[in-house]
């Protein structure tokens, strides 16, 4: 119920449009009722052979309703789709605005689990909230009330009977179908998820499966789940068919009941035979309004589930917030010193600390490398520096002020990051660079691209700066992506540079060339390089060796090699690598 209210709040700004679309929906059904009612009247009255003048109104009425129905239907569809599109725009903005403060602490883990993709699909499905969920009951209530009123003019008890039947059909059948369908629906969802997971395994793990001679057994598993899925689906469809059949029965049985009750009333003189014909057809046509209700009930529970999933994500508290009294940051920023004292961090949901007891002093403009085997906690330090999270204990000082004193926007202006994962956005090469600095002019872009050694690549692209990249666009190689990211960093000109495994996944030749560019990038900035590749280590002022969240060695390249510890082991293992 709470979810429904929250969902309805999203529709509230469009109350006027909802009213208009609903009114048009009611008018459409009313025309249908009017058409059959006046037609029945026309024919029944004509059977009594009056003068043609007495039939004129009915003839005009039949024509009016016949044309009106089509036109109202058209207008109703336009109005409801306009509303749907408005709603979609609002939902996207709403979702984005609510998600933005949560990123990346609350969204990083979702990327892998595809939770985010799912949430975006959920948000998009909510656009149908009016058209599929709200409109049918609103129209049904209005039509029921109006028809009841009309029938009441014949005899009050008939109106009461009609309204009872209308309600049973409109609420009872959808509710019954919902109860029957929920259990099957849940099982269906589970089976579908199992099948999808098994197929994913079968495709992504196909090499492993075939090598182990297990292709046939995976096929068998898929076959079994598929059979279960189609059986479940069939059961669910049969419940839906039951709904349709029940609706058909309810509609015509209601007409029958009205007929049976009304026959003695004709005899008793409450109304004449013409009235009887009109009554039957009006009642029959009015039931059009309850036909979509079983489907609406199904959509309601789907939308509630989608809403619940989305709210569950958005209701998380942001991991970090802006300070109440932020530090002032001048326009021109000199490279800051970085100090770390007693830093400890444990990821939410994890027991082991990812970092513990970290002490560090990096003078302004110096270069620090943090190395160690994977899982040592190197990237965690980068995340804490960018304030994706706040440390569990200890603190980080940037230019002698705690990190949490800076406004997040200022912090991200000071700290530039280049990571192994480069996001490119659908758009042109130019768009993707402008993202870093929207005000940059063509000359600035050229210069940044030039220093990132990206210019020749851009000029070689089919449409140069205007080449479309990203989804459905040109795929760039790993090295090209990194250079684009470097150009972005250059455009932002950060005072503190964090390089998080910048060469992972690149071949040695590309790696060596990229490191050369990176060394230029480090000029005049405080730099922290996080890597498990011991390349260009001589250029670093300080090296910190991390192992399982703790600093095990520190010094420069020469000192560490002499130590004969983990650093030396890592270095020697790397020397044994064939290129």
């Amino acid at each position: 119920m709470r979810e429904l209210l929250r969902l309805l709040r999203l529709v509230r700004p469009f109350a006027g449009q909802v009213a208009a679309a609903t009114a048009l929906g009611v008018a459409t059904v009313a025309c249908g009722i009017g058409l059959m009612g006046t037609a029945a009247f026309l024919i029944a009255a004509a059977a009594l052979q009056p003068s043609i003048a007495e039939l004129q109104v009915a003839i005009v009425g039949v024509r009016f309703f016949g044309i009106g129905r089509g036109i109202f239907r058209y207008l109703e569809r336009l109005a409801s789709h306009r509303l749907t599109l408005h709603l979609l725009g609002r939902l996207r903005v709403w979702f984005y605005e609510a998600l933005e403060p949560l990123a990346p602490a609350r969204t990083l883990s979702m990327r892998s689990a595809d939770l985010l993709t799912r949430a975006v699909a959920d948000v998009e499905s909510l656009q149908e909230l009016y058209i599929r969920v709200l409109a049918p009951p609103l129209v049904a209530v209005a039509v029921g009330a109006g028809t009841g009123f009309f029938i009441g003019a014949f005899h009050l008890s008939l109106a009461v009977v009609f309204l009872c039947l209308f309600t049973v059909a409109g609420i009872g059948i959808p509710a019954g179908i919902h109860v029957l369908g929920t259990r099957i629906g849940n099982r269906l969802t589970r089976t579908r998820a199992d099948l999808a997971a098994t197929i994913v395994d079968g495709i992504q793990g196909m090499a492993d499966l075939l090598a182990c001679g297990q292709g046939a057994s995976q096929r068998h598993r898929v076959e079994e789940l598929s059979l279960r899925l189609v059986r479940d689906r069939e059961r669910a469809s049969r419940v839906e068919a039951l709904g349709t059949a029940a609706m058909t029965f309810a509609t015509h049985a209601s007409v029958w009941i009205v007929l049976v009750i009304a026959i003695p009333m004709v005899r008793a003189g409450f109304f004449d035979g013409v009235g009887l014909a009109v009554l039957c057809l009006v009642a029959m046509a009015a039931f059009e309004a309850v036909q979509p209700l079983p489907a609406a009930a199904r959509h309601l529970s789907e939308q509630l589930a989608a809403g619940r999933r989305v709210f569950a994500i958005l209701d998380a508290r942001p991991a970090v917030e802006d300070p109440a009294r932020p530090a002032t940051v001048s326009g021109d920023i000199s490279p800051p010193a970085v100090k770390v004292r007693g830093l400890e961090f444990t990821y939410p949901g994890s027991e082991e600390p990812a970092l513990a007891g970290l002490e560090l002093e990096l003078p302004a403009g110096c270069r620090l490398a943090i190395v160690g085997p994977s899982g040592a906690g190197k990237s965690t330090l980068a995340h804490l520096l960018l304030r994706f999270w706040d440390p569990t204990a200890g603190e980080i000082l940037l230019a002698d002020r705690p990190l949490s004193d800076y406004r997040l926007d200022d912090l991200r202006r000071i700290v530039g990051v280049l990571s192994q994962h480069i996001d490119l956005f659908t758009g042109t090469v130019r768009d993707n660079l402008l993202l870093a600095s929207p005000a940059a002019d063509a000359a600035a872009l050229e210069e940044a691209a030039g220093r990132a050694e990206l210019l020749s690549t851009i000029h070689a692209l089919p449409e140069g700066w205007d080449t479309w990249i990203g989804e459905r666009g040109l795929e760039l190689s790993g090295g090209q992506r990194q250079r684009l990211a470097i150009a972005r960093v250059l455009l932002r000109d950060p005072a503190l540079l964090v390089l998080d495994e910048p060469t992972t996944g690149l071949d040695p030749v590309t790696e060596t060339r990229l490191m050369r560019t990176l060394r230029q990038l480090m000029e005049g900035r405080t730099t922290i390089l996080i890597t498990h590749r011991l390349v260009a280590m001589e250029a670093m002022d300080q090296i910190l060796v991390l192992d399982r969240g703790r600093v095990v060695e520190r010094g420069n390249h020469g000192q560490l090699l002499k130590l004969d510890g983990l650093y030396r082991q890592l270095y020697e293992a790397q020397q044994l690598t064939l290129s």
Partner: protein, 580 residues
């Protein structure tokens, strides 16, 4: 929408259910006519004959019975139709998945997994609309109006003619306006999916946007894109909905015309009331199946789109299996004879075929350890794929003890091989099941022993449920090093005469590496091995080293000899002398 012959062939196997659905539907149509007649009869007798309720009790009871019968038929028709669809969907899914397996991991790797999974789950489900709704409705849209028209014609010629004259207008307008709207709405669908994709892009790139300090500014862009899309959509919808307008108008106006035309003749006493009322009741029923067909047409369209995709998958060529298979020799020597292979180009992207191996000759004697080295792109992985028979050589031969591989069933062939890939896949199942993949019939003790040999015992013990912890897609995440040890355990368990080992390029913790080297030595004892080597100790331990470059064998020999005579080999071994 044309009727896809391949789809119809599949449907043909389930034709009994489908015919039953049409039969029930047609019977339902007859019930509708009977119901209209009974209702008209009762009202006429009460209205003009002054009958009491008792006097019309019989037709009233018949009417109720007809209504119940009609509802029952509606259920039976739907149930039969979904049963037919269920069978077709299952057959199709099974066939497509089997074909994917036959085509092998390389072909599957070229597809986008997410899209493939959606096609195989929801895509196939979309066939429901086509098989269970559109196909029966196609028959009923012909049968029911025809029945109604015949009945009306016998009662009132003029009304029958009106119905028959207006009926063709519905499909004509449907096609005309449909064509007009189709192109535009398809473009609109594209715009819509682009918009969705770019929104998802923005959301997934939120971290990057945030780091770039651009995340808040993105709201305006989202709003703008949605507005633009809305304006464009409304332009399209204004035309697209015209078809609904025309359909509705034809149907309702025809009913209105019939009503007026009947009324006028009633007025002049040329028709009696019961007949007239009967015809009035039937008129909307005449158009209903046609209008329903219009709705099901659009739903069915989604089904045929999915079907096209499925048939493309189903008809992609797969390597043939031997008609009469020769069993794999127990501890064979393997031989590659003048083997060449080129990766097929992708026509969609305009890339040409890429040669990966050229005239490679190689003999692996039983028990021999061979290391393969070469720069990236030299063809090392392709060589492993050839031996694993994930790809077939374009020319040349692969043989086991002089038996051509083509004569041996691929499953049988692969049972003689244990493969330890660089990035092994972990299945959404327990740790034990993931290890057991190596030999499904093995018991718990054997699984535990294999894990011990592969140095996986310690970290498995630390997992929340030990061997029963589920991993992969929906379970605990294992690190790359841990996944690799699981794969090693698989190999220990498989106990195959030939081992294919893809050494990891990503650096492991050097301390663990030393321990793993010992475990590997243990595994290699008494087996032939083909090792894609990335480390000096590995090549030094091999009996022979094969140096590959650009798909050709440059040299073969033991480490020491190659070091003396092969320039490329020297470069490979010494290149990491200190980095950049």
């Amino acid at each position: 929408m044309q009727l896809d012959r391949r789809l119809l062939a599949l449907v043909h196997t389930r034709r009994v259910s489908l015919f039953a659905a049409v039969g029930f539907g047609a019977l339902g149509g007859i019930a509708v006519v009977a119901q209209a007649w009974l209702l008209a009869h009762v009202i006429a007798r009460v209205f003009l004959g002054g009958a009491t309720r008792t006097q019309v009790a019989t037709p009233l009871m018949l009417l109720l019975g007809t209504i119940a019968f009609r509802a029952l038929l509606s259920w039976a028709a739907d149930a039969a139709a979904v049963h037919a669809a269920a069978g077709v969907k299952h057959d199709l899914r099974d066939k497509v998945f089997a074909r994917l397996l036959e085509r092998g991991p390389l072909a599957a790797g070229r597809e986008r997994t997410g899209e493939l999974v959606t096609t195989l789950t929801e895509g196939i489900e979309a066939l429901d609309a086509y098989i269970a709704r559109y196909l029966p409705q196609l028959a009923l849209a012909a049968l029911i109006p025809l029945t109604v028209a015949v009945v009306v014609l016998t009662r009132d010629l003029l009304s029958g003619v009106v119905l028959l004259l207006t009926a063709p207008l519905i499909p004509i307008f449907m096609v005309l306006i449909g064509r007009l709207a189709d192109v535009r709405s398809r473009r609109q669908w594209l715009a819509m999916s682009r918009l969705s994709a770019s929104f998802l892009d923005t959301i997934q790139g939120l971290t990057t946007l945030k780091v770039l300090g651009r995340s808040r500014a993105q709201v305006a862009a989202i709003r703008r894109a949605s507005e633009t899309f809305r304006f464009a959509s409304m332009d399209v919808l204004r035309i697209a909905f015209l078809s609904a307008l025309v359909l509705e108008l034809v149907a309702t106006l025809s009913v209105a015309v019939v009503a007026v035309e009947i009324a006028l003749r009633l007025l002049h006493g040329r028709l009696d009331f019961e007949q007239a009322f009967f015809v009035l009741l039937l008129a909307p029923e005449f158009y209903l199946p046609l209008r329903r067909l219009g709705a099901d047409f659009h739903a069915g369209l989604a089904g045929t789109t999915a079907a096209q995709r499925l048939f493309t998958l189903l008809e992609a060529p797969a390597p043939a299996r031997p008609a009469i298979a020769i069993p794999m020799p127990p501890t064979p020597s393997l031989e590659l004879e003048e083997v060449s292979y080129a990766y097929p180009g992708e026509s969609g992207r305009g890339s040409a075929a890429r040669p990966a191996l050229t005239s490679v000759n190689l003999l692996i004697e039983p028990g021999e350890k061979i290391a393969i080295v070469g720069p990236s792109g030299a063809g090392k992985s392709t060589l492993a794929r050839i031996v694993l028979r994930f790809v077939e050589p374009d020319s040349g031969r692969l043989m086991a003890d002089d038996v051509p591989a083509k004569a041996i069933d691929p499953d049988d062939w692969r049972r003689a091989i244990a493969w330890v890939p660089q990035n092994p896949h972990l299945f959404a199942d327990t740790v034990a099941a993931n290890i057991r993949l190596g030999r499904p019939e093995s018991d718990e003790k054997e699984v535990a022993a294999a894990a011990r040999h592969a140095l996986a015992e310690d970290f498995i013990a630390e997992l929340s449920a030990g061997y029963d912890t589920s991993v992969g897609e929906r379970g605990a995440l294992l690190s790359g090093g841990q996944a690799r040890r699981i794969a090693l355990a698989r190999a220990f368990l498989a106990d195959a005469p030939l081992l294919i080992l893809d050494e990891p390029t990503a650096d492991l913790d050097p301390r663990l590496q030393a321990e793993l080297d010992v475990a590997l030595e243990d595994l290699l004892t008494g087996r032939s091995a083909l090792i894609i080597a990335h480390r000096t100790p590995t090549v030094m331990a091999a009996d022979r080293v094969v140096v590959l470059d650009s798909g050709r064998v440059v040299d073969v020999g033991p480490h020491d000899e190659l070091l003396e005579r092969c320039e490329l080999y020297r470069r490979l071994v010494h290149s990491y002398g200190g980095g950049a």
